[in-house]
Each structure stands twice: as C-alpha cells, then as structure tokens.
C-alpha cells in the first residue's frame, strides 16, 4: 500500500515540478528568491512584526541631539523618559496594593472599563521610573548592540573568509589559525572579559568590541563557499577574459555566496541579542545608569514573586525580537535553497491531478 502511494507521488512530483517551473520562467535568481521569501508566511509575519517593533521602540522616547545642557529634542510619542521619576503609584491606585503596578488594561469586558493604557502601562520600578520607558530604552540598546555586532561580524567574516578561500596558501593558513584561536574559546567568556572592563564605555563601544570577536564562524562558512566556487568554470572563464582578482571576488564569486552569508548573519544577529542580554545579566555588559533588557531582568529577577511585570516585559521583548529574526533567517534559508520545494496549495494540487488525468486519457 505504501509502495503504491509512492508511485502516485512520483507521477504527482513530475506534474508539480511542471507547475513550479512555469512559475519561475523568465525570472532572475534574485526575483525567484524574493518571491519564495514573500511566500514564506512565518518569515513575512516576522518581518512585519520586527519592523513595527523597531519603529515603535525607536520613536517612543525623546531623542536628545547635541550638547548636554541645551539639546535639540525630537519628541517621542511616550510622555516619560527613562530617567524621569514620576510619582510612584501605590496603595489605592493599585488593585492588589503592590508598589508601582502596571496600569495597562487589555481585558475589555471583565471589569467593564475597556482597553486603556493608563499612566504607567508596564508599571514602575522601585524609585518610580516608568517601566515602559525603561523597557523601550533597553530594547533600543539591545537592538543597537545586535545590529552593530551583525554589521561588523558580517563585514569582517565575509572579507576574511573570501580572502582566505580565494587566495589559499599561506594567507589562508594564517587567517584560519587566527579563526581557530578565537573560536576555541566560548563566546560568552570572551564577551565577559571584554564586557567587564568596557561595559561602562557605552553600549555601542561594547558592541563594536564584541563584533570584533564574532565573525569567526561566518568566515569559515564563506571560505568553504569560496573554495568550491573558485574551481567552477565561470571563474576560469572570467580569469581567461582578464578579470582582476577584485573583480572575480566581488562580481563573480560573492554574488553566488550571498545566500549563505545573509542566512548566517541573521542567525548571528539573533545570537548577538541573546549574548548581549546574557552578558548584561552576568553584569559584564551594559551597565547602569544605561539600560538594557538583560540588565532589567537581572535587576528585578528577585521581584518576580511580588511584582512579576518587572520581569515579564523585558523578557517578552527579547523573545519577540530573537524569534522574529530566527524566522526571517529560516525564511531566507528556504528562499535561497534551490532544493527547497514549495508545498502546493490544494488548488494547485488539483490542477496537477487534472494534468495527470489528461495524460492518462491520452
């Protein structure tokens, strides 16, 4: 019975292939990849969620540009800054009498007063700072660290990997030994050593240093790609045509390796945000008075039993960001993978069946 259904599947495969081939006729590689990515539902939802989140997070607080005393202020949509200390709500304001309880109300029907944000939707911390502002600031820092690490690691990893893979020989040997030196020590350890001393120099500087040690895995991947691609005929052809090394690397090989690079950079970025939060949690990352999501969790983890919101919100933001990036990475991987085949919808399956029936009749 299993064998019979297998035969049917093979015939089906041929027809489904025909449908899929027709869809990609006359499209460039980039267009095919883009189409496949757009079709990946989880990845598209993640893109939308992530962009909304980034916009919301970065427009929430006032931007102060220029000197400390007389800054140029771009106002954000949220009324408090992360350093403001409004009056702490307690007692009668809070239902259960806890300190600085969240005023967000998302359950419209039970208590009958509808959806509302209230003065402090995420609550307040010990000294009355608005927790929404703190979480927004933390998310800004964490996102910043993530993007800086991602950008630096992507650049360094790609350049070093392609140089090593393209030129081989002693250049390759030296670069790959350097990779070995760094890659053998767990990232969290290097991060802690750096973060302990430079964490107080600001999130951006910390991210820069962390980025200098996060490119190793990517460079190995890129080198592997280059080692196979440089033996291909089109590289020989362009070399015979007189192309320079630079041109071959950038125009001929790199575009073919871009899928691997993009996918692993997205995964690297989701690792980066977890790294930053873990370091801040251990006390080796962003330090007070600045705020990061990991630092918020670390500060308020003991308050979980009494004031759980201080713990929930930063955690949720970390998870949503990391989850979105992971899904985008997955969608990109599927989109770039030529072996990956789309599942046909019910309608398309029906037309494939119709094609088969027609061929049987004929």
């Amino acid at each position: 019975m299993a064998r019979k259904s297998k035969n049917v599947e093979i015939v089906n495969d041929a027809n489904e292939n025909a449908i899929l081939n027709k869809e990609t006729e006359g499209l460039s590689q980039g267009q095919i990849v883009l189409r496949r990515f757009i079709r990946h539902r989880a990845a598209m939802i993640s893109v939308v969620v992530l962009f909304t989140l980034i916009t919301v997070v970065y427009t929430s607080l006032d931007w102060r540009i220029g000197d400390e005393d007389d800054p140029f202020i771009i106002p954000g949509w949220w009324k408090y800054g992360f350093e403001d200390m409004p009056e702490l709500r307690y007692g009668d304001d809070c239902v259960d009498g806890s300190l600085g309880c969240p005023s967000i109300d998302m359950v419209p029907f039970i208590d009958g007063d509808g959806i509302s944000l209230g003065p402090h939707p995420f609550g307040q911390d010990d000294i009355g700072r608005d927790y929404l502002a703190l979480v927004m600031r933390g998310a800004q820092r964490s996102l910043l660290v993530m993007f800086i690490i991602g950008a630096i690691a992507a650049t360094l990893g790609t350049v070093i990997g392609s140089v090593a893979g393209y030129f081989r020989g002693w250049v390759d040997a030296i670069l790959m030994r350097l990779v070995d030196f760094i890659i053998t020590v767990p990232v969290i350890i290097i991060g802690s050593v750096i973060g302990f001393h430079y964490g107080n120099k600001g999130a951006a500087f910390l991210a820069l240093l962390l980025g200098l040690f996060s490119w190793t895995g990517l460079s190995r991947l890129v080198r592997g790609e280059f080692l196979t691609l440089r033996e291909r005929e089109f590289v020989d052809a362009s070399r015979v045509a007189g192309a320079s090394n630079r041109r071959i690397i950038f125009k001929h090989i790199l575009p073919n390796a871009v899928g691997v690079i993009i996918v692993s950079v997205t995964l690297l970025m989701s690792g980066a945000i977890l790294l930053e939060t873990a370091l801040s949690y251990l006390g080796f990352g962003v330090t007070s008075p600045d705020v990061s999501l990991g630092l918020l969790i670390s500060t308020y983890q003991d308050a979980f039993t009494t004031r759980p919101w201080l713990f929930w919100y930063p955690g949720l933001f970390i998870i949503v960001i990391a989850l979105c990036i992971n899904f985008i990475g997955d969608g990109l991987r599927d989109a770039f993978d030529p072996r990956q085949r789309r599942r046909l919808s019910r309608k398309e399956k029906a037309s494939a069946r119709a094609m088969r029936n027609r061929s049987e009749v004929a």
């Binding site: 020590v185 302990f196 939060t277 251990l282 969790i297 979980f304 992971n326």
Partner: protein, 514 residues
C-alpha cells in the same frame, strides 16, 4: 590514522598556545588590579600598590608575563604543571579540579536528556513532514532558540519549584488541571499518530480518557506524596518496554525477540524482590554493579535461549530491555527514600530545590536519600539547560532525516519491499546518526559555556562560579586556568567528532591525502 591523531594533537598544542596568548593579553590589558587600590585612601597605599605589583609582576608588560605563566603551564610535559596561584593563594589547578565534577554533573545529564528527547521529537517531526505536529515542533524549536536561559530559569524557579512544592503539600490535582493536562496529551498524541479524521478523534478521546483516569488515580491515592512503583507497576512498565523496544529494534513480527524481551520483563519483576535487601544496604554501590552484571548475563543468555538465526539483534534488544527495566527498579528504590527525604528538617516539605547543588546535611543520611537530594537539585538547572540546547537537536535531526529519506538507497529499500519500520530504523535512522554524532560531540563545549549562566542563576559552585570570581577579582591565573580548560575541551571534542565521523562513515578516511 595514528599519524593523523598525532598531527591533530600537535595542532591542538599550537591552537592552545595561540588562543591562550590572545586571551592572556586581552584580559591583562583590559583589567586593572591596581584600580581599587589607587582610589583607596589607606595610609600605606603606596606600599600596598608596590606589594601587589611585585606579587602579580605588574612591572612587566603582559606578553612577558604570559611567558612566565606559560613556563609554569609547560611543566605539564615533565609531569608537574603549574597553573599558578589564585589571589587567595590556592593552586589554580586544584580549584579547577574541585569545580569540574559539579559542572560535569550538570552538563552530562542535560546533554543526555537533550539528545534523546531532541532526536526523538526531530525524527517524529520529519516523519510527519508538513503536518500540524511538524509546524508545531518547528515553532517550538524556534521559540526555544530565542529564549534567554536566565529568564527561563527564573520562571522554572517560580512555577516548578515554589508553586510545585506548595502543590506537593496536599498533592491533590484539581479537576480543571486534570482536564487541561488530558487535552494537551490528547492533542499531542493525536498529532503524532495522525491519520484520517475519524482516527484522530478516536486517538484523542482515547488518550484523553486514559490520561484523566490515570491522573485522577494518582490524585486519589496521593501517589505524589507517597511515590512508589512496586512489583506490579514494574511488571506493567516492563511489558511496555519489552514491546516498545522490540518494535523499534527488530519489529514485532520477530516472535523470538518478543518472547525474549517478555521473559526479561518477568525476570526483571522477579529480581525486584532479591534486589531490595542489596539496594538497601549501607554501601550499595558494589551491589548495584553486581546486580547490573547479573542482569546483563541473564539477558544475553535469555536471548541465546530463544534466538535461532539472528542472535546479534535479539541480544541487543534483550540487553536494552533489561537495562531499562533495571533503571526502573533503581528509580523505585529512590522513590522509597522520598518520605524520609521530604520529612527531614533540612528539606521541610520543599523537595524541589532552587539553589545549590546539594543540601548540606548535618547528620549522616542513607545513600538513597543523598542520591535523591542530588536528583532534586539537578532538576531545575538540567531542565533549563535542556530546554535551551535541545531545540538544535530537533531542527538538526529533522533536517538530516529528511535529507536521508530523499536518498536513492531509501527508495531501493522501499522497492525491495522492506517494511516501513526497517526502512526508517535501519536504513534511514542509522545514516541520520552519522552527522548527528559529530554535532553532539561538538556541542558539548558550547553547553559548558551555557552552564556558566545556569550556575550563576542556581548558585552552583562549578566552573562558571570560578570564572565569575576570576573576572570580578582580576584573578588572571584563575581566569587563564578556566579558559585553557574550556578551550582544550572544545578542541578535543572537535577531534573526537572528526574521528567518530570517520569511524561511522566508511566513505570518509581521516588523514588520507594531505
């Protein structure tokens, strides 16, 4: 092969040299042990600074200090390695040796659970590709990928320790919980087994009813307060294991294998009685070992009794079955220590521990109570580490199995008319295990890194604690000790992974062609 291993070990030394040089200088430059002293207003400040400078050789530039440190470490080749002293004048080597067992206990259990569960779920997910279960597992794995471990740990502390301990006082499961659990269980099994709509509904309702009855019985008999398996439960579990292992290992159509494993279930149940006095003695370690050997002998001879042609597979099946049943007998003995453990003053009815690696016992307690104590302390950290690391196994085993199932030899196997079980377990699963093994070994170093955070959350005294202490007290010798240990572990794990790969996959020959 031998030359290859030698060459790799040579490379290991070079890499260790390079990475330790890099890290030594990085940490020497980025830390300032004198910083606190400079800010102090002690009257003998200058003298203190001078003393510390002499003690830590701060007058020398970091690269030179590195070679002084290296000279001590290189003593390893003449049999007496000197990793230097910590700031408390304790040898670094001993400090690390004291911390390793704790970390290994944490990492080993977590890795084992993660591998077994991860592969099982990943393979099921691949066999049900594009089903709801598959999508659910994919989402679940990505969710786990995105969880910060310290965040999960705090949640576990709250819900699985504090709240669960409160619950254990009465150990009554309320009806809404029973229904909730049963619905989840029903969905889970219905999604895994799947089939036509009618079958799914049948499976769901069957699991739902069985699960509800089971949980109600547990609640009514206060089993959670007085956990115990006993010979009857051992027999039932044993028969279940026998059928399950036989199905997966050789298939139920092999009657001889089935007879053997069922015999082992009966033998295991009978051996429950003579095992009790041995296990309850003061020093049961030797007894456990002897019982284990006896069990192996019995299972092999039992297999030989029934096996006619295919001895190997039947012996394998029989040994797996009896070892699993043996483990349940041990679990039963551990459960018998539950009441004395829970009622003791140190535990005071709060068995699931949130902090530390063991309770400090004032009085001498029995072996099994101590084992139980270790186990209760292991639960939360292990669960946290497992949750984080097994997402990788789910994704990877799923992807690998799907790759393998597309190979021509699978089609050939099906074309030959082999049963689906044989195709999956013998042809596909074994080939899936090849890349998985290398991933597993390579992953161990990473998990040790993750253990650093876990130890911090649960206040364990392992490598992570040492590392934290080293950084916070500017203890360069201790820091380097930890780093060298971890990087050696990482490189050795990589070497072992490569060697395993060549052993498992005959197409790959290590050291061939330079």
């Amino acid at each position: 092969m031998f030359a290859y291993i030698l060459r790799r070990l040579g490379a290991l030394v070079v890499i260790l040299f390079g990475s330790s040089f890099l890290l030594y200088n990085l940490s020497a430059i980025s830390t300032d042990p004198l910083g606190e002293l400079r800010l102090s207003d002690a009257p003998n400040k200058d003298q203190l600074i001078l003393n510390l400078t002499r003690e830590l050789r701060l007058d020398l530039p970091p690269p030179l200090r590195y070679f002084i440190w290296l000279r001590g470490v290189l003593g390893i080749f003449v049999g007496r390695a000197d990793f230097g002293l910590t700031r408390e004048q304790e040898p670094v080597f001993e400090a690390i040796m004291g911390a390793i067992p704790t970390t290994i206990r944490l990492v080993a259990v977590a890795t084992l659970v993660a591998i077994v569960l991860g592969i099982a779920l990943g393979i099921t997910s691949a066999l049900r590709q594009y089903s709801r279960f598959d999508y659910g597992m994919t989402f679940f794995a990505f969710l786990l990928f995105s969880l910060p471990i310290f965040w999960v740990a705090v949640l576990l502390k709250q819900y699985l320790a504090i709240d669960f301990n409160d619950f254990l006082v009465s150990a009554k499961i309320s009806p809404p919980w029973i229904i909730g659990f049963s619905i989840v269980a029903g969905f889970f099994w219905a999604a895994i087994i799947s089939g036509s709509r009618r079958q799914v509904v049948l499976i769901f309702s069957g699991v739902f009813v069985a699960n509800s009855i089971f949980l109600s019985a547990i609640s009514a008999t206060e089993w959670l307060s007085y956990p115990r398996l006993g010979p009857i439960a051992i027999l039932v579990i044993g028969v279940g294991i026998a059928v399950g292992v036989t199905y997966l290992s050789v298939g139920l159509s092999d009657r001889n294998a089935l007879k053997t494993t069922l015999l082992m279930a009966v033998v295991g149940t009978i051996s429950y009685f003579p095992a009790q006095p041995i296990l309850s003695s003061d020093r049961p370690r030797l007894g456990i070992l002897l019982l284990f050997i006896a069990l192996l002998i019995v299972s092999v001879s039992g297999a030989l009794l029934f096996a006619r042609v295919d001895r190997g597979p039947i012996i394998r099946t029989s040994v797996i079955t009896s070892v699993l049943i043996g483990i349940f007998i041990l679990i039963d003995r551990m459960m018998q220590a539950w009441r004395p453990y829970v009622e003791s003053d140190d535990v005071n009815y709060r068995p699931v521990a949130t902090i530390g690696q063991s309770t400090i016992w004032l009085s001498e307690v029995s072996f099994w109570v101590r084992v139980l104590d270790f186990a209760m302390h292991l639960i939360l950290p292990t669960l946290a580490l497992t949750l984080i690391s097994f997402a990788g196994y789910i994704r990877f085993s799923r992807g690998t199995l799907l790759d393998v199932l597309n190979q021509d030899y699978i089609r050939t196997a099906r074309a030959k008319g082999l049963t689906e079980r044989t195709v999956i377990m013998r042809h596909a699963f074994r080939n899936t295990m090849i890349p998985l093994t290398t991933i597993m070994v390579g992953d161990i170093a990473g998990i040790v890194g993750g253990a650093i955070i876990t130890e911090r959350v649960f206040a364990w005294q392992g490598m992570g604690t040492l590392f934290n202490k080293a950084i916070n007290s500017f203890d360069l010798n201790l820091l380097m000790g930890v780093i060298v240990f971890l990087s050696t572990l990482a490189i050795l794990a990589n070497l072992i992974a490569d060697l395993l790969y060549s052993v498992l996959d005959p197409r790959i020959r290590v050291g061939a062609g330079k």
